[in-house]
């Protein structure tokens, strides 16, 4: 085994990315319905319904506040679920990785390809939500298109740790823990539905370590047409989660498959 500490990125990763893109294309119809349907439900149900009572939040209409929160949390969900359920399926029951590992591809290439795909899917779904939000008048200006590359990064951010979960999982049930203990709390606490500043001070400190908080801090001002602050910090935190997750996952998957 060539157990280099830091795997090099190779073009081989795109072969796996391409594989996943082709599978996705086959299921385009149903997946687009879900992509547009769910954000519509959230934005109309919560945005209009709650918006009526709330009016403005942090100097923007509540619909904009909520839409920008969902634009940050959607890539988290898309990438996490893809990197857990789909990746695990390919790795263990479907034996797809076993087949791939008899070609020149290595574990590092496979997982890099998976992460690229998770991020791509996060942007596809995110773009659908952005379109819906724009239709509903929740987006102010073209600078909101910067949301898309940030969603790509957020996809990488969450794909990394989710790959670690796949590498450790002995079955699908295992993912429930990760979703219940980490993804759902982040969804509720990281400023998607209300500003983090309204949390108790101790909790505010904790929330600053969660990647979703930084995704919200980048995406919300872009959607609302406000200045973005601390860009380097936010990008750095998002990149760090993705990178560390990737490196740990490569190590664990090698240990699991190359025995």
């Amino acid at each position: 085994m060539r157990m280099t500490l830091v795997p090099r990125f190779r073009n081989a990763a795109f072969a796996l990315w391409r594989r996943n893109t082709l599978v996705w294309r086959k299921l385009l119809g149903p997946s687009l319905l879900i992509n547009f349907g769910e954000p519509f439900l959230y934005l109309i149900g919560l945005g209009y319904g709650l918006g009526l009572f709330i009016g403005e939040m942090m100097n923007m209409p509540y619909l904009t506040f909520l839409a920008s929160g969902i634009l940050a949390s959607s890539p988290m969900n898309t990438a996490s679920f893809e990197a857990m359920y789909s990746v695990y399926t390919r790795m263990i029951p479907q034996r797809t990785y076993e087949a791939i590992l008899t070609t020149p591809m290595e574990v590092a290439d496979i997982l890099a390809g998976e992460m690229l795909w998770c991020a791509t899917k996060a942007v596809i779904n995110g773009a659908a939500i952005l379109a819906v939000a724009a239709l509903l008048g929740a987006v102010s200006g073209w600078q909101a298109l910067w949301v898309l590359p940030i969603q790509f990064l957020v996809g990488l951010t969450f794909a990394g740790p989710a790959l670690v979960m796949s590498a450790l999982a002995r079955g699908y049930d295992f993912f429930n823990y990760y979703v219940t203990l980490l993804i759902t709390p982040m969804f509720v606490l990281s400023g998607v539905f209300y500003p983090v500043s309204s949390l108790p001070p101790a909790l505010q400190g904790v929330v600053q370590f969660l990647p979703l908080t930084h995704a919200v801090d980048l995406i919300r001002p872009l959607v609302a047409g406000q200045p973005v602050t601390d860009v380097a910090l936010h990008l750095g935190v998002l990149a760090a989660y993705g990178l560390v997750g990737y490196l740990v996952a490569v190590k664990l998957v090698r240990r699991r498959l190359l025995v």
Binding site: M1, R2, N11, A12, A15, L16, R18, R19, L22, V23, K26, Q94, R95, T96, E98, A99, I100, L101, T102, T103, P104, M105, E106, L258, V259
Partner: protein
Amino acid sequence: MDAVVEIEGLIKRYDSREVVRGVSLSVPRGRCVGVLGPNGAGKTTTLRLLLGQSPLNGGRIRVFGLPIPEAGRAVRARTGVVPQMDNLDPDFTVAENLRIYGHYFGIPAHTLDARIRELLAFVELTDRADSPIGTLSGGMKRRLTIARALVNDPELLILDEPTTGLDPQARHMIWGRLRDLRAQGKTLLITTHYMEEAERLCDELVILDQGRLLDRDSPASLIRRHVEPEVIEVRGAAGTVRAALGGVPDCRLEAMGDTFYCYTHDATTHIKHLEGRADLTFLHRPANLEDVFLKITGRELRD
């Protein structure tokens, strides 16, 4: 003759159990070497080590003169693999499986198109090109797996029990294709526990049992060296068989299940003893690889 695969003193442990214990083996270019061994002998493990898919605990491997595991990528680029268990990609059709697999080797699209057409014809799956994997029979899946292993036009083909579980028609079809590949000059390394397969396809056989290499030679030499040329298989009550053949010279008597095997250099006199007896049935045949295999690896059940 230059060797495509050279293995020396290979050792592999799982936990503290040694499952490959000092195997040495070489596969000359353009030849077919068969690895014969009961279940659990270490065949699959040896093949995985060879491909750089598993860390070794001792010994040395070179494939195409390159060191394994260091040169694993380069070696896999020139090798085709048919794994013991089918692992075709269920999200794709027959032709798409070949295409996707070709992408993993970085084969350019125009080369790939032509190659896929040739390979589908070679394994007689042209009319199933657009079928989903789930609709294929076991034999078709195996043929597609062989086509997939050829997508990179490999110099070395590694097949792990290529016909286990297939019906005789499918098996013969695959043997035919493997002989074609031999004729094209490809080097083949095959594991099997079908003696007929080993005898038909391979120039040379190695017998592996419990991680140890017990012998290696051509099929004919193995038979000549290990067993007498003729065999009489006898069925009947144990006492009756022993009474009929017990005192006869030049008869090495072995029992397995409800059958006795009398190994001999000349069966003429033995047959006289058996003929016309209503309480025994017998069959006279030349010795084959199965006799060698049972003699070398023992007659008890394996799993």
